[in-house]
Symmetry: D2
Subunit: 194 residues, 4 copies
């Protein structure tokens, strides 16, 4: 059963290391029998959220781009978020993007976090906050976490890894995401979630 | 498909309000076509953990009670934790109990949190910490949370509710737990999680 | 010893309830023998942070508005943050604003959080994440928290309270902020923090 | 102005690495012009908290050991907590010890966290939860954190460090604790906190 993954980037910073991480991840995904799409907040260039999509009384008044992104979220079977941490917290570009859309769009879909930093801590403090946010949005946060410490040493700019354990850890992580995405998608066919 | 729930209490305090909450929850569970078992840290009376079960070099040297509890965890399909918060945090009786056992025993099973307090906040700060702990143990924390504010007003000592919304919220919460427990149990039959 | 407070709003949402909260707080501050200034992300209208002030190689290349806000932060003795929570998390307008400036600007100054929501939970989940962020920025998060549950019932649009306990709680909260701000400002005169 | 530090250990596990960490810290403290005392939950051997000290109607009925520990907490000017993380969370031996005593005993005193682990993450996830708990108890959590990654490589069993940066980081950390402890103690002489 083919799945649709939505990969969401967290950073819009100049010289963001997220690009080498997303290259690494997307290359991995390209070998799986699934589809994937990338949401990059730098390209989307959304302003700070003043009215989330679901707060428009008349949905037609909402900008077309919000409908388009929402469709991507609704259509996907699983979320894969690639994010640094800014001051221990979720990057505003990421929380801003996620906040635009209703829990109904995220609900009953698994999400997986790939976090990174140039320090030893690999962005795990952001992952703690992000799990809380994803759960509030109704997504199921899979237990496995793919954290990348010292990201500029672990990955080259072209997204290749310097270290075999990176591949092994990522494969295991993606396997868990696939497992939960399939379990949930299958069960939805039998019993619609309420 | 019948499920096995393991209900775990968080408090051992004198006059704990957890008893009225667990009565309410257990009564609900008794109407479902599933089995359930209660783990009460007050009855188990485990000392502060010095050696978790999986740290014994020879498992035979571990106290029999640890093997027995571990079997309950391994045999169950889902966890339902009923807990207050002590100073914003996980009650030590609860973290002590959970810490005794290996992630392998909890992995690939959903967990649900029912938290309560006598204040308006309903123990939600404990739930944030507890989700982190459960995920680290490999359990999947379901998005739905059943928090009970002003617990002594919401529930009587015999576990009956003063308010219909309690029943509705609890039914919805248990339905989500059941949904995820079934999705995961079914999928395990097809593809063993790795 | 007069103090300088910097009041920072967290929301830019249309119809934000933060305005009634900030009116309430600013009225309280106007009776104290201190100065205060308001930072409103809606007025500042900063784009999503791509280059924080301290990441510019040549500070002169940074937008003037960043230098101006940074001066406000540096000049203040204490921070008072008035914020809702968006999906359990820090509003992106707030994290975006705070992320633009270096820890050196916030360090060794106390911060206090006034959080609010239309639910019973009063925004306390945001406060947990925000404390982590403020501490990472070097600010000392005072223990007292001023959370406002059911904010539209607790406060009128003009910032007046419907309930005496609001005044008492706020006065106590502001007193603790003053106490720590003075303790720290005094001690800086004797021993510069390192 | 001499200060009184209370050093509190978090672990009671067999073969706990906390001993090498506390040796390292206590040696550092022995060179400062301050007093310090150690609270070790393994020696105290308190049962899981059923009745905190302040919940006894007649304080005389509380065990003498609780009065004795409470006096240590009340008499101290600052807390220094040395702790691992168990499954991302506060060790139960530590939360159990802290929960026995009222916020009044901890209030208006700074606390500092030294966390450690055998992984790269140095126990920082525990520190996030612990800061929340300490703040709820009324203590001020200083921004500086002394986390020790790969603790068995960083410190020898006798508490000596293999690496100069350990000394530098610890000295800086202790200096910040001292600075806040002095600021607060001085200010209490002028204005009693309310």
């Amino acid at each position: 059963m083919p799945l649709k993954y939505l990969v969401i980037l967290g950073s819009v910073r100049d010289n963001r290391n997220g690009l080498r991480v997303s290259k690494f991840i997307l290359e991995k995904l390209s070998h799986l029998p699934h589809e994937f799409k990338l949401l990059d907040p730098l390209e989307l260039n959304l302003p700070l959220v003043r009215t989330p999509l679901h707060f428009f009384k008349d949905p037609k008044e909402a900008p077309q781009i919000l409908h388009s992104i929402n469709k991507d979220i609704v259509d996907s079977d699983a979320f894969l978020i690639v994010t640094p941490e800014y001051n221990q917290s979720i990057p505003p570009a990421l929380s801003n993007l996620l906040n635009y859309f209703p829990p109904a769009s995220y609900a009953h879909k698994p999400s997986a976090i790939c976090c990174y930093s140039i320090s030893m801590f690999g962005g795990i403090r952001c992952s703690i906050q992000l799990r809380g946010m994803l759960i509030e949005l109704g997504s199921v946060s899979i237990p496995s976490l793919f954290s990348i410490s010292k990201v500029t040493e672990a990955l080259n700019e072209d997204g290749t890894a310097n270290d075999k354990t990176m591949d092994e850890r990522c494969d295991k992580f993606l396997k868990q995401l696939e497992w939960y995405a399939m379990a949930i998608k299958e069960h939805k066919k039998t019993i619609p979630p309420s």
